[in-house]
Symmetry: C2
Subunit: 157 residues, 2 copies
């Protein structure tokens, strides 16, 4: 088990993506229970099964296991809501940290989100002049929520 | 992925358990979605994470992965309904098959069920004069259902 401490932002300048190469990710959810989400992910030919516990502030427990890609494909077909399709770009940051910038496709087209995993909840954020508003605490931006209520269907943004 | 073809019975004679040694199993569910259940199991110090697809007749898809026992313990705490506590006894049967007899404890105390995994849906059942009524198609006996509505709380049996 790992403890994940993550902050999430919109982008005010997409130029930061220029020159980066991304990886396509398909992911869906086998559970949206109040206490845990169960995520299936297929990324660059590799499958993953991940359980995430309740979010407490910025922090949540995460349990991640590699699974065969063929299993991930079959499990995505069992997911009870839409499968998220996105391209992830990695951008190294100061202090050995790394921004993960997700450009969504399909029903979430138009949404671009930058996430960073921090070593502690009060760790300073690496400087990034391309960051927009923070959305860490807005549950609409949880990927599990986007699979059920995609960005295109939001009435207010 | 494996395809699981299973038949399930009550027992009319518990003498069959005499002389067998069992293994205690704790299991809970991270998802009761209509399309898939996600099961966490701790058995004899080993953890497992298992996704089972929709039941079609006697058959369902099963995806099972070993996980650290400490993860299984932490995941059991995230399960959104009761954790099932049972002792499993194995009884070899003709043709290389094996009966799994589960004696439930706690809120499912009093329930004893024998299951057998068959190589095909029309495979003949090995002879067993201790078998009671078949309950393969009664969803109350699904372990995922027993975690939410345990045997003690059934109004009719």
């Amino acid at each position: 088990m790992a403890i994940e401490i993550e902050r999430k932002f919109l982008l005010r300048d997409l130029q930061v993506l220029q020159g980066l190469s991304g990886q396509r990710i398909a992911q869906g959810y086998l559970s949206h229970s109040p206490t845990a989400t169960v995520r299936v992910r297929l990324r660059d030919g590799h499958g993953w099964l991940t359980v995430k516990g309740l979010t407490a502030g910025l922090q949540r427990d995460e349990f991640e296991y590699p699974i065969p890609a063929a299993d991930a494909e079959a499990l995505l077909a069992l997911c009870d809501a839409g499968v998220i399709d996105k391209t992830r770009y990695l951008l190294p940051a100061d202090g050995g940290l790394c921004w993960e910038i997700d450009v969504f496709h399909g029903d979430n087209d138009g949404l671009v989100v930058a996430e960073i995993e921090l070593p502690s909840a009060d760790h300073p954020l690496p400087a990034a002049d391309w960051l927009g508003a923070e959305v860490s605490h807005d549950p609409r931006y949880f990927n599990s929520a986007l699979s059920r209520t995609p960005y295109r269907h939001w009435t207010a943004r």
